[in-house]
């Protein structure tokens, strides 16, 4: 199990952060990532509109919870967490990786800690906080270590 990539899309579809989480991750340029981010944002909105009915537990009138949660493929799993403010955290991983949801929630916490509490971060702008990137790296390392210990 390997986490591959993390990308974060703001509420207007702009990519504000992307990061490889493992050396196994495919090398993709920043321009491609910008395209992937906005494409995913559009697909999410379409899925949201196309959904025939609102999910029963969805209390949000704008239907923000009805978009894409997971995409499965032979080579990867993609999971997305959209927050109440419309920011999407997306993580791709190899199939069979557990705890992606937990990683997404932890990254959300790190975002509120390291970006939102940083006086030099501007909302909706690319995240260039050193503390955020080192914290994400540390999080992925601990998650992979605990998963390895669990298998044994």
């Amino acid at each position: 199990m390997v986490f591959l990539h993390l990308f974060i899309v703001n509420k207007s579809g702009g990519l504000i952060h992307h990061r490889a989480l493992s050396p196994k991750a495919p090398q993709i340029g920043t321009n491609e990532w910008l395209r992937i981010g906005s494409t995913f944002h559009s697909l999410y909105a379409i899925a949201n509109e196309a959904s025939p009915m609102k999910l029963s537990q969805n209390k949000n009138v704008s239907g923000a919870d009805d978009g894409i949660e997971e995409i499965q493929a032979d080579g990867l799993v993609l999971r997305c967490l959209q927050t109440r403010t419309g920011i999407k955290f997306v993580v791709t991983a190899e199939p069979g990786t557990s705890d992606i949801d937990q990683v997404l929630r932890e990254i959300y916490i790190l975002y509120t800690d390291c970006a939102l509490k940083d006086p030099f971060y501007e909302l909706e702008m690319p995240i260039r906080c050193e503390l955020f990137t080192t914290s994400v790296d540390a999080l992925i390392r601990t998650m992979e270590r605990s998963a390895r210990l669990g298998i044994r």
């Binding site: 916490i109 390291c114 939102l116 509490k117 940083d118 006086p119 030099f120 260039r128 906080c129 503390l131």
Partner: protein
Amino acid sequence: MNRQPANILDRPLRASRAGDTMVSMSSFAYLYSELVQYHQNRVDSISELERRLESSGYGVGLKMLELLAYRSREYKREIRLMNALQFVSTTVWKSLFGKPADSLERSIDHADEYMIVDYEPLTSTFVSVPSDFGQLSVDAYMSGIIAGVLSGAGFSARVTAHSVQLEEGEHSTAPPSQFNSTNLPPRTEKAVFLVKFSPEVLERDAGMDR
């Protein structure tokens, strides 16, 4: 009848329990972040930003001195330089940050300079300073507090904050404070507060040794 009044302004100045004077760390972080942004939009240079943060902290220092003197059991005033510095790095630090400062050192090169070291300064817990801001230390607010306490006690001093990269294997010796528990990786920088006393303060202190 020992129910606490709900409004913080109606409470007595004397702290009854330690928990009464605690504030959520997130609230502080958001408020401090706004303070830095407010000043950042009104300055032209990094040194001016630091100076403004210092002057924000200065008033806090004066008031902390007054409050702590009121709360302490015996009403005593420090008149010796070392005692005043000890007061800052233990009593003031404990009541503001819930732990004493990590060390208090005297500069080897200059007799009028002292250093207070904190491995986990509260004001920069969530801050990453962008590279184009150079040597900016957002702990300048804390140095303003120190200057306020010291000059309120009659030891006028120039206090500056510096972020210093930790050396290999160097880390805080104190156990991690229960109030500053975040799930962030360990810090790579420590805050050094350089206290430079005015010549007349040192003269007066030397005079007391005689």
